[in-house]
Amino acid sequence: MAGTEQVVYVVDDDASARESLCWLLDTEGIATRAFDSADSFLRAWSGDWSGCIMVDIRMPGKSGLQLQEELNGLQNRMPVIVLTGHADVPIAIRAMKLGALDFLEKPYSDHELLDSIRAALELGLEIDRAELEKSRYAVALDALTEREREVMCLVVEGKTNKGIAAQLGISEKTVEVHRSRVMEKTAARSLSELVRMCLILKDQL
């Protein structure tokens, strides 16, 4: 979750490629954790992890592509960078279709590698932030009463207090009270922030 340290998870069966990559990232001050197979990575995997995953395509047992498929089933949030010993167009296309962020051919240059990793980490951070925001909004929304929630939805749709009162069959005054309670409970600083919040959570409303 937010605040947890970002880690690059390296999954590669070849020890020298794996260890050297970790060492290089270490010199750049990037935290790494290494796995020698897809299965050992999956056993350790947790939904709380933040960062990105670098996975080699060709490995004994589960291949990198199969690992991607399983991670998609687990609703993994971390971006995936795929490594391969040789560029093979059909495989690259399949990896991209499975949602890989980037595709690097060994041996890669260090700039290429670090650019790709930085982009992945940044994206991971963004995803984390959005997730955090979403959960914060969800907590706020839980605190609203049924009537306050109705009023909020109509406000977001752009209805006037008078219109809302007529639609719900209550006085304009009561609408105003509900409205101020909504702003208070959600800690929204403006109407536009309230609209944004509703958009993010629209599938929970």
């Binding site: 260890e19 050297s20 010993g85 040789h86 041996p107």
Partner: protein
């Protein structure tokens, strides 16, 4: 070898009559066993249509039907021995009681009753039918009654003598046989439309047609057919095979053209279509109009018919009288001429007979020579062809022989024997052009007499003689064999010569076709081997690239990491920094070399085409047939119905199947001889992918090897390269499919690959 025999008197009779002939052929034609299969008319047609027979022995009429419909071809004609005389032809008699007051000619039969053996009987009815039609009597329309009695024909003779029917028809010879057996008094019988033939002393009212032929099915090899034909021609009249068959042996196949004419005229057999316009459909569509028109026309017809009949009778009898008068006059004249030249004729006849005898002996010797030449395994094709052409030159008494290649309108002399003067070559080329144009057989006894050829490709040849016949390769005329000479033919060319010429041409066509098929199979194998080599190199390069790229990646990672560390420490040691930079650059260069190598050897683009997966599987099994047999492995293929075609590279897919079969063959080495089985299942998955599973009855793979099976260089075989499965996976994946090792529900090991549909 099965010989289908028409059993018109029942199975038992056919077996007794023909089994000795089958035994004779088994003795005479080495390496083959012959047996008799008795069949009804319907059974004969159905067996021939399913290609179940190798040879066919049937009546003349049925033969022509089968020749037309299924391409059977005659090898010899039966020489029947009847009342101590030998015949290769027969006819039919149309007869009545000697004391019948109204019947004297065939045309008198109209309005009377008639009995025959069967509507389908060639000698027993159809011959008479033709003569009746010629005489203006339609047996199915103009008779008071037409009945069919079935065999034996003797009943018909008795019925007519007893007065139950006015007219009867039976096969020629029947009356004489019954008279000889004292069953009838031949004096009490009157023939209608009696004819005379020098060579045929039996009573007959119809034209004569050739006897039963012995024929070969279309698929039966020519060489075997030749051996059978030679054996039949050599059958002695005293032998058991001949006696049981009531025959004096067999002769060169006769011309069955007259039988075709009969069928065409009667619109039956192969020509039945001639009388089959779709009357029903016309009737359905225009019924009211037709009825209306018929009523209107009927009155007119009645009137016209009365007048017409009267006219016709008058003109018929007029022309008959005229013809008779003419014929009588001609007969008298020719009788006179005959008397004058009788002695000369006798001398000529004797000489002709001697010539015929000599020619038969020659042709028999030549047939034997052709047989010896074409079946000698020690002679190469070229030598055999040479010897064959020389034998032909000797037999036809011609100077020059050649084979000719005909392709896309181009006619080129190929192999020559006795190539002589330029004039001869030029003549041969012209004759070849003409034979190619007619795409058939050409015989020119003497060019100076052959006016009809003046407009053809032979125009300009002043004198000489030629024989030529085309041959087919895969149903297309692709060459011919020809003999020519600047002199007119030294002897008269006969039907036997044409048969022998065609035999030579057929043999040559067959040999060329076989060589072509061999060449194509060879080419296919070479193509697969080439693709296989390319694939192996490509896969090795990929494997090496993968293996080397791992350490190169590590080197680059370490060198880059070092440079970053040095940079952080202020780049104080420039010498060290430069050296490490060079380490990285060299590692990168090594990576580039590998990349270029891979691109260089990279497999070509896939040549995708749409085809049935079963074709690849059959081709692969066929290719490994010898190895499967050597190892006593049985292969069973199960294929689901209605599979869609796939869009793939045919040769590559075939290589996958070959690789998997080779692995299965190796895996089965450890099994006992009776338990070596490979099963191939072809099915489709729910999403339309084609699934091919190749499993074997072997022990399967150790569990610890399964993970690495598809890795390049990984192998469990002592002399294996570890490329087969790796290549197979690359091919399947490049087609968008998958491949995996699995145990099926019965625990048998195997590989399954999938391919997306078109």
């Amino acid at each position: 070898m099965s010989i289908g025999v028409l059993a018109f008197r029942g199975e038992q009779d056919a077996l007794e009559r023909w089994s000795p002939t089958a035994e004779y052929l088994t003795e005479s034609v080495a390496d083959y066993r012959f047996r008799i299969v008795p069949l009804t008319l319907e059974g004969m047609v159905s067996e021939v249509s399913r290609d179940r027979l190798d040879f066919i022995l049937t009546n003349t009429g049925n033969y022509v039907v089968l020749e037309n419909a299924f391409g059977i071809s005659r090898l010899a004609t039966l020489k029947v021995r009847h009342l101590d005389k030998d015949f290769t032809q027969f006819g039919a008699v149309i007869f009545t009681r000697a004391d019948h007051p109204e019947l004297n000619e065939i045309e008198d039969i109209a309005g009377h009753s008639m009995l025959a053996v069967s509507q389908n009987a060639f000698g027993g009815f159809q011959m008479a039918w033709r003569e009746m039609i010629d005489a203006g009597v339609d047996p199915f329309a103009d008779l008071r009654a037409l009945d069919f009695s079935g065999f034996p024909q003797d009943d018909i003779v008795h019925a007519v003598l007893a007065g139950d029917y006015d007219v009867g028809t039976v096969r020629s010879g029947t009356l004489e046989r019954m008279a000889a057996d004292k069953l009838i008094d031949i004096g009490k019988i009157k023939l209608l439309g009696a004819r005379q033939s020098e060579a045929f002393p039996f009573l007959h009212s119809t034209r004569l047609y050739p006897e039963w032929p012995f024929a070969k099915a279309r698929k039966t090899p020519e060489i075997l057919a030749q051996r059978v034909a030679i054996a039949l021609l050599q059958l002695q009249p005293e032998s058991e095979a001949a006696r049981k068959a009531y025959a004096a042996g067999w002769t060169i196949p006769l011309d069955y053209g007259p039988v075709h004419e009969l069928f065409r005229q009667l619109e039956i057999g192969p020509y039945e279509y001639l009388k089959r316009p779709s009357l029903e459909s016309v009737w359905r569509e225009y019924r009211p109009w037709i009825i209306f028109s018929l009523v209107m026309i009927l009155a007119l017809i009645a009137l016209a018919a009365m007048i017409g009949r009267a006219n016709r009778r008058i003109s018929q009898s007029e022309s008959r009288y005229r013809d008779e008068a003419n014929q009588r006059k001609q007969a008298q004249e020719s009788l006179a001429a005959h008397k004058e030249t009788l002695e000369t004729r006798v001398r000529e006849r004797t000489a002709e007979l001697a010539e015929v005898n000599a020619s038969l002996r020659r042709s028999e010797a030549t047939l034997r020579a052709i047989h010896d030449i074409t079946t000698d395994p020690d002679r190469s094709f070229e030598t055999r062809l040479d010897d064959l052409l020389r034998e032909g030159c000797r037999f036809f008494q011609m100077q020059f022989a050649a084979t000719v290649v005909i392709r896309d309108g181009d006619v080129r002399l190929d192999k020559r024997v006795n190539s002589g003067a330029e004039e001869l070559q030029a003549m041969a080329q012209r004759v070849a052009n003409e034979v190619a144009r007619i795409s058939g057989t050409l015989t020119i006894q003497d060019f100076s007499d052959a006016d009809a050829l003046a407009d053809s490709g032979c125009a300009g040849i002043a004198s000489g003689s030629a024989l030529g016949a085309t041959y087919q390769v895969e149903d297309e005329t692709s060459g011919c064999i020809l003999f020519c000479d600047l002199q007119p033919g030294r002897r008269i060319f006969t039907d036997v010569d044409i048969d022998i010429l065609q035999l030579m041409a057929q043999w040559l066509g067959g040999e060329i076709e076989r060589a072509e098929i061999n060449r194509r199979a060879q080419e296919h194998r070479a193509q697969l081997a080439h693709v296989s080599r390319l694939n192996t190199m490509g896969e090795m390069a990929t494997g090496i690239a993968h293996e080397l790229n791992q350490p190169l990646t590590a080197i680059l990672n370490y060198s880059n990491g070092c440079l970053r560390l040095l940079h952080k420490q202020g780049d104080s040691n420039a010498e060290l920094r430069d050296a490490i930079t060079k380490v990285g650059a060299d590692a990168k260069r090594a990576g580039d070399i590998i990349k270029r190598l891979r691109e260089f050897i990279k497999r070509g683009e896939l040549k995708r085409e749409s085809f049935e997966i079963t074709e690849s599987i059959e081709a692969a099994v066929e290719m490994l047939r010898r190895r499967l047999l050597q190892n006593e492995i049985s292969v069973a293929t199960h294929c689901a119905a209605n599979l869609p075609p796939i869009l793939a590279d045919r040769v590559q897919i075939e290589q996958v199947v070959v690789n998997l079969l080779l692995n299965a063959i190796d895996a089965l080495q450890v099994c006992g001889p009776d338990s070596k089985r490979i099963e191939i299942e072809i099915d489709s998955s729910a999403d339309g992918h084609i699934l091919v599973t190749i499993s074997d009855s072997g022990p399967g793979l150790p569990a610890d090897t399964v993970e690495r099976l598809f890795d390049p260089f990984f192998t469990t075989k002592p002399d294996g390269m570890g490329m087969g499965l790796s290549i197979s996976r690359s091919i399947v994946e490049s087609h968008g499919g998958t491949i995996e090792y699995q145990l099926d529900e019965r625990g048998r090991p195997g590989f399954r690959f999938s391919l997306p549909p078109t």
